[in-house]
Amino acid sequence: MNLLNLLIGFLKVGLFAFGGGYAAVPLIRDVVLSYGWLDQDMLTNIIAISESTPGPIMVNLATYVGSIQGGIIGALIATLAVILPSFIIILIVVKLEKKLLKNQYVQAALSGVKPCIIGIIGATGAYMILQHVFTAFPGGTADITAVIVTAVLAVIYFGSRKIFKRGISPVLLIGIAALAGVLVYGVQ
């Protein structure tokens, strides 16, 4: 039953996650939290690990969740499930020589979906920040330490782009955040 849920859950992610990378996070969050496969904290950990290891984030998350839920078989099923929809869709697109994507109705639907995804990603990022800087969001009180660390990280990340052409990479930001975590929480 669990393996079937893994298959269905990650087929959903693979079928509806447009854009790749972080675009998949809101969807994965929906699926993973609703089946109770991970809690929010663990999900955030895995996203950070995915960012710091090679490969697409979606594939990394599927492998991890599959593995802890159903061992190696679970990992294989979840990973294949997340890849399969895009594999089949690309084959169809190549076969139809892109006619499908040039279809005006498909274009019209996509013109709604694309900005919607951007809004969903933005809201997910904003919600995750709020959740981490408040003790029991919604409600609770602000965790001053977390607010300060978040603000410093944001200034470093966005500020570095003003100084250097490309700014610091996400992996470097995660490294700095890990160091900050040890320095700030390690001494308490």
Partner: protein
């Protein structure tokens, strides 16, 4: 070398050395498949990027499937796609066996408390970058703003509506807007 094996090994290398996923992988795929192997042209590579944006799934997987299929049909598509996914599969599978024990070590757990704060920033940044590249039409801005507000509301108040539902609603709104515009054109003409 056998072309199927070459596809598998090339994409396994790309899968092993590209961090971050998404658009971070495109320059690396271009370097290997356009410049070194000359499997596809630069124009085709641009096309794949556009197609990847309009189809679901990780961009790297989309590229691998497309290039593999163009080179060697279904067999090539499977070889390239599996090659792309295999390195990260092995690495994450190993991590999944040890992560719980790792997180019991206090300083590692503390490091992850810091990392958590960075992840939200990175996701927000992904959205900001996409907004910058988005065409600034009133329709797209309105849909983005509504989706943002709806998703935030859903998350905060734990409403049982998934992001898939929001996307399907947005697809319908896109279609309706298109039909209304078309109807007007027809009426005027």
């Amino acid at each position: 070398m056998n072309r199927i094996a070459d596809l598998f090994l090339t994409f396994a290398k790309i899968g092993l050395f590209t961090f971050g996923g998404g658009y971070a992988m495109i320059p690396f795929i271009e370097d290997n498949c356009v410049i070194k192997k000359q499997w596809i042209s630069h124009d085709e590579m641009m096309n794949i990027t556009v197609i990847s944006e309009s189809t679901p799934g990780p961009i790297a997987i989309n590229c691998a499937t497309y290039i593999g299929f163009k080179q060697k049909g279904i067999g090539g598509a499977v070889a390239a796609t599996v090659g792309m996914a295999l390195p990260s599969f092995c690495i994450i599978f190993l991590i999944s066996l040890f992560l719980d024990h790792f997180l019991e070590i206090r300083w590692i757990a503390n490091a992850f408390r810091g990392i958590k704060l960075a992840v939200g920033i990175l996701i927000l940044d992904a959205a900001i970058r996409m907004i910058r590249k988005m065409p600034k039409k009133p329709f797209t801005i309105a849909v983005t703003a509504c989706a943002f507000a709806a998703m935030l509301f859903i998350s905060i108040f734990s409403v049982r509506v998934t992001s898939i539902t929001l996307m399907l609603i947005a697809a319908m709104i896109g279609l309706i807007a298109f039909l209304i515009a078309k109807g007007r054109e027809g009426g005027a003409g």
